[in-house]
């Protein structure tokens, strides 16, 4: 229970940071109440005020969190608050009044007020957001789709069970449902584990860590101890992978040649160049 209270308290702190929608709601409510315009929509204004207070105070937020099941995080209790509706109502009443006023500058003043309000609203969000992160994700998605397409094209009819870098596994199942995986993205996106009772055993975690080393080895630098362990455990990891049904392994093309040779020796097959990747197939 204490954890729920802590989550509720921290949840509100987190909710109001980043963007200002909650602040806009409170401003709209204050405007409606203090100008007497809330009387025109008393039911909505009272409901929105009470529900917002209930979401802000940890004592009332906790029962709401329990009500919405523990499956959802704190921010979802705000679904009970008509945040967009009431803020839009406040905006409408305020702007309509500005445009109806004939005194104090008339239309130019109304235009200026509207533009300033629009600017304040847009600045209260997160203009552009994390554009860099989105661009990276999109590039990864594109790459994964291309790889899935190449696999289907090159190995038609094969029941592929793939082991590949995380960025490929992240999207490959949505690109091609026919490709099976030793582990999916619920290994690193733990919230997905709520959708199934299935769990991964230690061998899968070891394989995931090992593939992470492989990816690092294709980069500029990796710790020597990790590199040594990657080579030492290669055969064991490949045995585990084969036991899990893996029959197609993708490495980034930048991995050391020594690693490719070790893999070829361990699997008894030749690697094949596959775009920006090296592929080892067991079928």
């Amino acid at each position: 229970m204490m954890e729920l209270f802590r989550n509720a308290g921290m949840g509100w702190a987190d909710y109001k940071s980043g963007g200002k929608m909650a602040a806009f709601l409170l401003i709209a409510l204050l405007y409606l109440w203090f100008t007497g315009k809330a009387k025109e929509v008393r039911v909505l204004a009272v409901y929105a005020s009470v529900s917002a207070v209930c979401c802000i105070l940890p004592l009332t937020a906790v029962p709401l969190m329990l009500y919405q099941t523990k499956f959802y995080d704190y921010e979802w209790i705000w679904s009970l608050v008509p945040l967009t509706s009431v803020t839009a109502y406040g905006l409408t009443v305020f702007l309509a009044e500005q445009w109806e006023r004939k005194d104090d500058g008339g239309r130019p003043r109304a235009v200026a007020v509207t533009l300033l309000l629009l600017l304040a609203l847009l600045l209260g969000g997160s203009l552009g957001g994390d554009a860099e992160g989105r661009a990276r994700e999109n590039a990864e998605r594109k790459e994964a789709y291309a790889v899935a397409g190449l696999l289907s094209e090159n190995y038609p009819g094969e029941e592929i069970c793939l082991l590949a870098p995380k960025s490929i596994l992240e999207y490959v199942r949505e690109a091609d449902g026919g490709i099976r995986l030793a582990y999916g993205r619920n290994l690193w996106d733990e919230s997905l584990n709520a959708y199934a009772y299935d769990t991964y055993d230690g061998k899968v975690s070891d394989l995931y860590r090992w593939m992470d080393w492989v990816e690092q080895s294709a980069g500029v630098w990796m710790p020597e101890e990790d590199k040594a362990e990657m080579f030492d455990t290669l055969e064991r990891r490949m045995e585990d992978a084969a036991a899990m049904g893996v029959n197609c392994i993708l490495f980034p093309s930048g991995v050391p040649g020594e690693l490719t040779q070790h893999m070829e020796a361990a699997l008894g097959i030749s690697a094949r160049r596959f775009g920006d990747y090296i592929v080892f197939t067991l079928f």
């Binding site: 409408t92 847009l122 199934a196």
Partner: protein, 310 residues
């Protein structure tokens, strides 16, 4: 039903689509039907719904369409047309944003993989969508009975569109448009007889959806970045309509929203946000009615009802 507007009928139809998806989905889960049979069953159900809808609209056209026509052809106040043009431009920009797919948020969500799994395995949850391997321990029943994957997979099956495109682009566009239908109904309840304020309200909503796209959990974010999710449908479509229905004292529609939410979102035994909002607004309405001088209930009671007919 007599005073339902055309947009109310659209919302009822949408809930009907969800309800029939749930029926087909449950039939497939409990009777262990293949996905092909499930989608055929759903197609038949949708056909029946479409015919019933046409019959209903034809029978009730005097009550439904006159209001619709008056609304479209009625006199626009000065500036109202301009507001609607700006609103339309905002909506188009949002549709383009969704269509570009540059801000798809899929953390904690596996809808595209689930739909792909249904299509490839020709079964409902025959394999774990994350790996494509058969389940070893299974999955929660409450999750298993949610119908959106079947709805989207059926759309993919009938149209041949790839699941990722259908789920992450086309469905969110449809949900966004539904959301505006829902908010326009709320606008009618809040500003009966004032078309210009309704235009301001819709424009305000469209701007706030952009503004709210900064954070997971916001209505704007749900509609623009993950519009296929049940919580996005709930927040953008069902809750505004629930509010509008409550303000117009249409309890039957609220019941439909509660059912629809139970079909698409993991709730506490069906007790979700629509029920809480419906109950909360009803309690406030009862309290307001008992307070001296507030019996008229502002614009939320009978005047709103009148607004439907204007």
């Amino acid at each position: 039903m007599r005073k339902n507007t055309f947009r109310d009928c659209l919302m009822i139809g949408e809930i009907g689509v969800i309800g029939l998806a749930e029926v087909s989905h449950l039939a497939a889960v409990f009777l262990k039907l293949s996905f092909t049979d499930c989608s055929r069953l759903y197609a038949v159900c949708l056909g029946v719904l479409a015919v019933s809808g046409i019959v209903f609209l034809t029978a009730g056209r005097k009550h439904i369409f006159p209001a619709f026509h008056r609304e479209r052809q009625g006199d626009f106040l000065p500036g109202q047309r301009l507001l609607y043009v700006i609103f339309a431009m905002t909506v188009i920009s949002q549709l383009i944003f969704i269509g570009m797919g540059n801000a798809i948020y899929r953390r904690g969500d596996m809808m595209a993989e689930t739909v792909e799994s249904f299509l490839v395995s020709d079964g409902i949850y025959q394999v774990n969508p994350m790996t494509g391997m058969p389940y070893t321990e299974g999955m929660p029943l409450r999750l298993k009975i949610l119908c959106l994957p079947t709805l989207y997979a059926s759309l993919c099956r009938w149209t041949g569109i790839a699941p990722a495109v259908m789920v992450q682009r086309i469905v969110p566009m449809a949900v966004l448009l539904s959301s505006y239908v829902s908010f326009s109904l709320l606008g009618r309840a809040l500003f009966p007889g004032d078309g210009k304020k309704r235009a301001w309200f819709l424009l305000g909503v469209s701007v706030l959806l952009w503004v709210g796209a900064y954070r997971y959990g916001m209505v704007g974010f749900g509609l623009l970045c993950s519009g296929w999710q049940g919580v996005a449908v709930r927040g953008g479509v069902l809750v505004p309509w629930t509010l509008s229905l409550c303000l117009r004292r249409r309890r039957l529609g609220v019941f439909l929203c509660i059912l629809a939410e139970a079909c698409i979102v993991w709730t506490l035994y069906g007790c979700g946000v629509c029920l809480a909002v419906g109950a909360g607004v009803t309690v406030v309405q009862l309290l307001c009615r008992k307070l001296p001088g507030t019996s008229a209930n502002g614009k939320t009671g009978h005047s709103a009802e009148r607004g439907d007919a204007t």
